[in-house]
Symmetry: none
Subunit: 242 residues, 2 copies
């Protein structure tokens, strides 16, 4: 169960369609629309939604905000500007973490988005339990409706999947082990010694140590090790033909 | 200091302008453009950027990816689809946390975004140190360029606000930049080609690509790069005496 995204008095059909696409990137497919300026259904919305059309098909339309959240037990309202009201303001992250907990408890949760130009009115916000403000650059706050929907949807996925900053290991990577690195290091040291690389002589021990350290520092796969051996062998073969 | 966002072969001016707006919401104002389809400057970009015009004014244009990241010591590349390559894949959150640490240490970091339809080519990705994939709905992945830029910018703000100025082991390390890696890659490619390493001929392009990818994967300091150049030159000198 995902949150329900409520578009309040949206103006352009294209923006409703774009919002549908934005939501569906993050698996949010429950949309409600309050008093759309150009009525419903809306061809421009359908055209823009394209592959996200099912979100529009399932969307319900309501004459006012109250009707759109009547079955909701918690409502967040997005707002760009500071509001002079006693209402908790959350980041999208905090709001969606809160939403994930409520939904897990069986609550029905909604997020309200305002009309493109004006944003939500104080009367709309009065029906929300908390506000969401995206931490945008105060010198250039320019999120459009679909972008706001996108960011909240993104944070929904992060919160509901409890994705912690994982790094996807290069799946199934065959890392070279210590023995293979040692063998590689020795191959290079032998050939470079023969080529006179460790010069002058008093510097040779530290140069060799640095090079051995170098191999340890590099994240080498078995394939990398084979490539490096091959490169060195080919240089030697070539040299023998000179 | 924020990351630099690199738009690679962007097609429509409007999308460049939209990207500028998206970035500036999160205070990212450093843009570079690689080989824009419709040239530069671009009126459609300016019109769309509107209040974010200063991002475009300050943007630099480059004929190729290598030129756009030559002074960068770490490059992330965004990709939508799974790639069959040995390259670390990070979420936007993990990537921007990593970026925030690197920038705090004084590194110059870039994030590459691909052309609107096709995304980045393997040749582009070969020059990246790691990949970023946004965790989108596999049934409906539809992020456009500005939305991808928006999400990475958003995570940048979250990460840079959290960053503590820890001293890490390798803080103050003199990492090789893109230009130095490119130069090293070319030196090796030329000598190995002359030595007949890229054999058989039909395998040569993929062998060269793998090797180029290899250099990008290795965390090389400037000293490492000098050592590697020196090793190769010594092998060549030795060969000439055989």
């Amino acid at each position: 169960m995902t949150p329900t995204f409520v578009l309040t008095r949206p103006q352009m059909g294209e923006n409703i369609g774009a919002a549908a696409r934005a939501m569906l990137n993050f698996g949010v497919d429950r949309m409600r629309i309050v008093d759309p300026r150009d009525g419903w259904p809306n061809r421009a919305a359908v055209a823009m939604a394209s592959g996200a059309g099912r979100v529009l098909d399932a969307a319900t339309v309501h004459p006012d905000v109250a009707g759109s959240v009547s079955d909701c037990t918690y409502v967040y309202a997005t707002t760009a500007r500071m509001r002079d009201m006693t209402k908790e303001v959350l980041s999208p992250e905090a709001a969606m973490q809160d939403a994930a907990r409520r939904i897990a408890e069986g609550q029905h949760v909604a997020v309200m988005f305002g009309p493109e130009r004006a944003g939500l009115e104080n009367e709309d916000l009065a029906q929300a339990n908390a506000l969401i403000t995206v931490p945008v650059n105060p010198e250039f706050p320019s999120l459009n409706l679909a972008q706001c929907v996108l960011l909240v949807g993104y944070e929904w996925v992060r919160a509901s999947a409890e994705i912690e900053h994982q790094v996807t290991e290069m799946a199934g990577t065959d890392w070279a082990d210590g023995q293979e690195i040692e063998h590689l290091a020795r191959h290079f040291e032998e050939r470079l010694e023969g080529a006179g690389f460790f010069f002058p002589e008093h510097k040779a021990p530290s140069m060799k140590m640095n090079l051995r350290n170098f191999w340890s520092r590099m994240p080498l796969t078995r394939a990398d090790v084979q490539t490096l051996h091959g490169m060195l062998r080919q240089m030697v073969r070539w040299a023998s033909r000179q």
